[in-house]
Symmetry: D2
Subunit: 473 residues, 4 copies
């Protein structure tokens, strides 16, 4: 039932607000603002003087929590997590925050990203007699922190960070601390806000408005911030890595009203649309978006090209995750459950259809066909990001390379497949330029294979655990 | 948690498809396309040679039905219903289709609209010893049909229609028939589509695409269509009433990709935006919409005024109906859970903010404040419909007159209340013109009190039943 | 998964307690005490000065109600109902109390029993244009009351009672009244209790203890009691019918701690066991019961025969209604999920196994086999009721005659089928004697076909509604 | 809502049946037969060649599992667990089987019992950098096995067993093995059965009947059995400990149709009743039981004393765990929700009331009062076990010592408290004799404080985790 998009792994939030009566309520609202980063499971852990209470379940934030649970989750510090929605099986065992007990007490951890050496570390630790109870790499981080626990929490975390490689935005709470960490390349975003009562850490700044928080700054790549006694301490645990923020945060993942590494997501998307118009101009009567993700770029394209922006496709707002099994016929035209053409608006027109990305190429053709059936004279597809050709190892759920249409086919081949009259992708340079007003430095590995770090040959993207499976229905 | 909008009562669907193996599946997809017309409850009844099976429950179409239920709901004819979402209590007893047994067998009925003389008829029938088991006016229709049942179903329905007054789009199934009826004024829409296997009746044409149906025509005001033996028979049971389609179908209720009485909803909304620009021009830097309902009019306004259209407000797509109870603080800024400002886009600018309607006036001020706080220099509010001043008795959940901000205040007073730099509403003439490309003839009673029929003094909008309450949690 | 028993239709409760703060709580406890009379659905309706609130759902009393619902169900008068558990489909539409609106206001009705002329009345009323929304005969009673509603509630009820034939214990509330009615033959039990605050009506006296009520008397056959202004008025609406209380109340349905028509159920069962010992003596080492329903009779048998009572079969207390589908193998030995043999106790012994009844004969053989496999030398089956040979039309779910093992087979044939060394049933005379210490006058129609009233040829036991089906899963 | 009883911790089952298609179905039926040992949560893990799938949730076996889950849980070996029902909070995190990953692969473990040195080991391991994710001592066992994992599973388990102290019956599956272990004192029972396809391990033999298994023998104290290649290997890892099976298995926990350490539970309970009659004879008219747990002893008492056995108290079979909150009045007479007196049977009689145990003494007085109110002339209470005076550290949920009525009061004081005419407890010698036909050797620590091993001063009975709490509602 999903359109052809990549999936983000997670969103994290951390709230430091001693004295705030209803901290879990704030975490709830914050997670709700980050819901687009993950719809599989949600969880909140609250910390009162080192004692941690938590609740996590499969489902949307609104489904997982109710008044009774929120009422009981009291504390001075809260962290929260949303996880992405898989089509297949989902295990509550793998939901976060992960809460564990180590020598220093209880610790709760929420993680956005993916480690590339988790299997390696895990195997080594298993050799030494350690057990693991989940199949998430985040447990490796927690286990490493515990291993070094007697050095004190700060040192323990630092030692653990020395060993792990990959992408991570982490929020951790233990003792009376709220800790925020961003990996040395800054692959995943994390930013700091200030409230009356304390501080907020969030994957994206779009969560600040609802929490009455003001944006302070991004956590820096390689930085660990420790919030305690209503004070922030910054520790740069690694300063030499090249910055490489995930491009797809700008292309698709982040909400347009967020600012990441000082770059407005909205403006970057509009820039991408404008640059796309420059790179791939075409004569046409109307620019339309594939809603909602293509809208901002389409507006930019229209602005640059002076071709009017209009709506050609209407999205059903009620498409959720509990659809009945489609039969064969419906599977073939499942895109119609989500999108309907505005016949009056497209009939007889030459249409420029802007989408943010094409991954497998499974739906673009169906949308082009809908438009043509409705009488569009021409359909020119414009994509506001480059062709996705390589797997991501840093927290994005990319299909196998051979299922990436951009990897296996030329642009002309793709154009034919989707039945477009012309097809244009934004160049990598264009994408960088669109987001790089302030030297953002993006990871473009999924477009060109230039990974910001060595990816071990046996880097399983996940700990596909042949060992055990938790069934949840 | 809801923005300041009127609420539609219901949507109905009817599918005639003997031989179609999975008719309930089609009804499900059809109802899903009509989900915007009602989110409180959903139901489907299927008819096999006069035997009717049905299932209805509180919730969205996707929540109410699952594979097992859909699998069991087999038949040759199906009707379906979605009902709107109240904030307060909801009773499954009042969900539809209503299925009853009368002399002629079982009959299932789904109703969109509201009768103005239901109480009156009900009281009279109770005097004669009739019982009622729900508090919906639709039961009055069913009971009248039963009363005349021995005349045969067609005659019985016609006799019943002679007695009821008000707004109704009805789909009924019994024997081997699918019946569609629209009240003499055509207050509620209903249209006919054709499929390979048979026919479809639907509140809106937007449901046809997913059902592979082609639009045939609207059911006419005062018309009853009977589909049987794969044939349509038309009976004009009342031809002299003045047509009066509900304006709000164009303003807000209907999906933009529907066509009602030969008028494209999208185009009428865009027209409304253009006319609004002509009626209330203002110098500004950007036209923005209150998403999603103001978007089409905003595009029209921008086009007419040559002021660029841009996004100023981002809507959280995950706002559902199961939110935890907000505390006082959150209640005050609840609009932030739904909307966030694109600061980069509005800062320092003169903004024209287009909304489709203002009902109570409770959220417009909050949105204007969000924009001003984000640095908008001026905020000019433009509303693509006239001020709502009168209660509707035909199926729209309008608040009491004194809660209608347009009824109690001058436009200048409203402008001050919401803190806008200027405020302009579309005129009634403008609205009529926007939708009336083909002589649509609209009911504008909520704007000017010109009701298309006498509204009895004791016309309770609903059968507020002091008699009994069914508790469902 | 059920042992081979007949099923009671329902239990009813009525509580009159103006000023009692938590009347629904009392109804809940009362229904809980009557849970053995029906496990399919439960419902409570409360009446405050003519306004009725209600809640009903599929499930046990404990499953249907929670604190929130109970908290909201306030009133001066409450009635409640439990309905029996079918193996097949269950429809919430058919749950009770039935709440309807008629001229006089709202009325709630709970019914235990079955009418024999419901179809007939229903058809006649449908001819006159009346609709029905459920497939229960209780709706016929409510509809008749409404028909005569303008005569005032008392007269209306009396007129309705003149028309209906069959078995009924009814509790009704409307206006400020609680009404209790028992059919002219007294086929179903109903008794009156007194509390501090008012009165209680209950199918069985076992509910009084938990409600702190003292037993006053049974409602008489043909009597209607009206409780109002904290007073009881008695109206004998029919006095000439022959009393005929259902035998199976004593054999199996009622709880042993109830007293029905002044006869202790426990003592009648023990008497039955004693008489069984006299009628069918046999030499043996131990008397055991098929738990739990055979226990009291087994104790009686042991006492009379001087053969020691012992436990030979242990029942699993956790057998509920949500078992997974058994595979073929498990179906064959499903009795083992419920019963296990105490090998030590039966090995090498001659066993007298006492059961309360044999209906289809499907499990007795399995139990005998279990005992023999465990080493019982002989198994003598004794049944504390006569063979069931005829269908019941008065509220008991008897299988078709040809599935009644006692109807189609001689006792010797049954003995062979179940593999017992001997088999003895209590005689009808014995059964009457066991329960008839105070001239109880029993209906013995299921044993000898002597129905207490004419059963119309077309007396469908239920309104098997070919018209429509409500699917609930 | 619970009568005054001690609570067992758990029941375990293990099924070795390569080639059996529906192994989880067997585990389900087996757990169902052990349901009396724990009603809080249930879980099943299945092992196919080292890969483990599992499912566990709060609730009864029938509530936790449905056809879909059972269908998916395929494998060659299954283990299952039921956990007891607490009144307070319940955490699914603590449900079992516990499934972890260690060097050797996945391992699933189900544990009945309690370790006395779990905190100690846990702290030491935390010092070495190990984390824990639950608050159950079973995780300590799994963690120890992992620690020694590289020695191979057998050696690892043996090393782990050397370190742990306390009570445990364990079933473990990993690789292609099913392992059963009983602690050196044999505090918790575990026995072996044989089926067509393989083997069964079970806490109690009552599960064998439904699985078509025949009893082979008990696992011996200090024995580990390894089932692999359809063969059993026995390893006596500790032979010198004194046997000390928990007395309460015979008094209350085990089902009467189980045989533990070659002693029939039924016979031991009947013996206890007989010995009780010898130790505490009294003249009376009838012996009654507090159902169901006192029934067998009451039958024994009656047999020995020649005073007839009868039923005086009827138990409501539908008392479950989801009762609404009782108000104060109902709390006081809550015993009435469970028990009702058979007035006819006790009125005017001298009653001997046999119960299996008195723990807090909170309900005995209420039951005596019920009997006296119903007209019993005398009530002589007889208890078929000695006064409980000491806390258990081996897996029984005993209240604090000061809440144990037998610890703080003389027998005469208790008699007065409960209002009995006389009170007699079985002696410890009597209890031993009742169960010790074959030299059973019982742990009687809760009666006399003679613990079978040193109980460390800081032996927390559970790992009451101040560190963290998982909220589940």
């Amino acid at each position: 039932m999903n359109l052809d998009k990549l999936r983000e792994e997670c969103g994290v939030i951390g709230i430091y607000a001693p004295g705030e009566e209803k901290i879990s309520r704030l975490a709830y609202y914050g997670l709700h603002a980050l819901q687009h980063r993950g719809q599989e499971s949600a969880g909140i852990a609250v910390n009162t003087d080192g004692h941690i209470m938590y609740y996590k379940e499969m489902g949307l934030v609104q489904e997982v929590f109710n008044d009774t649970v929120i009422e009981r989750l009291n504390g001075d510090i809260a962290i929260g997590h949303v996880r992405y929605s898989t089509t297949g099986e989902s295990y509550v065992t793998n939901a976060q925050p992960l809460v564990v007990h180590y020598k220093g007490g209880a610790i709760a951890l929420a993680h956005n990203g993916n480690l590339v050496n988790a299997s390696e570390i895990r195997e080594k630790m298993q050799d030494d007699g350690t057990i693991f109870q989940t199949s998430i790499d985040s447990e490796v981080i927690a286990t490493l922190i515990a291993k070094y626990g007697k050095l004190g929490i700060e040192e323990a975390i630092k030692k653990a960070l020395k060993e792990i490689k990959g992408a991570y935005a982490l929020v951790i709470t233990c003792e009376n601390k709220l800790v925020g960490i961003r990996d040395p390349h800054g692959l995943r975003p994390l930013c700091i806000g200030k409230t009356d009562k304390g501080y907020v850490l969030s994957s994206e700044s779009c969560a600040f408005n609802v929490l009455d928080a003001t944006f302070v700054r991004d956590v820096l790549p390689g930085e660990m911030v420790i919030i305690e006694d209503n004070n922030i301490t910054s520790i740069m645990y690694e300063e030499n890595a090249k910055k490489a923020l995930c491009s797809f945060e700008f292309v698709y993942f982040a909400r347009p009203d967020s600012t990441i590494d000082e770059q407005s997501v909205y403006i970057s998307r509009k820039n991408a649309g404008k640059l796309l118009a420059k790179e791939h101009p075409v004569e046409a009567d109307m620019v339309i978006a594939v809603p909602d993700s293509g809208t901002v770029a389409a507006i930019g394209y229209a602005e640059e090209s002076k071709i009017p922006f209009g709506e050609g496709l209407i999205k059903n707002r009620y498409v959720g995750r509990t659809f009945i099994q489609p039969d064969q016929k419906m599977r073939e035209r499942s895109v119609r459950l989500k999108l309907n053409v505005l016949k009056e608006n497209v009939e007889g027109k030459r249409i420029i259809m802007v989408d943010d990305s094409i991954v497998r190429g499974t739906t673009s053709g169906k949308i082009v066909a809908l438009l043509k059936n409705a009488g569009a004279k021409e359909v020119h597809v414009r994509v506001s990001s480059p062709p996705v050709k390589y797997s991501c190892y840093f927290g994005i759920d990319t299909p196998e390379t051979k299922k990436l249409v951009g990897s296996e086919n030329s642009i002309e081949e793709i154009r034919k497949m989707i039945g477009a009259d012309s097809l244009g992708y934004l160049t990598i340079d264009g994408l960088i330029k669109s987001a790089d007003e302030v030297n953002t430095n993006l990871c473009t590995a999924c477009f060109n294979g230039n990974y910001p770090m060595d990816v071990p040959k046996n880097a399983n993207k996940y700990l596909f655990d042949k060992g055990c499976t938790d069934i949840r229905l």
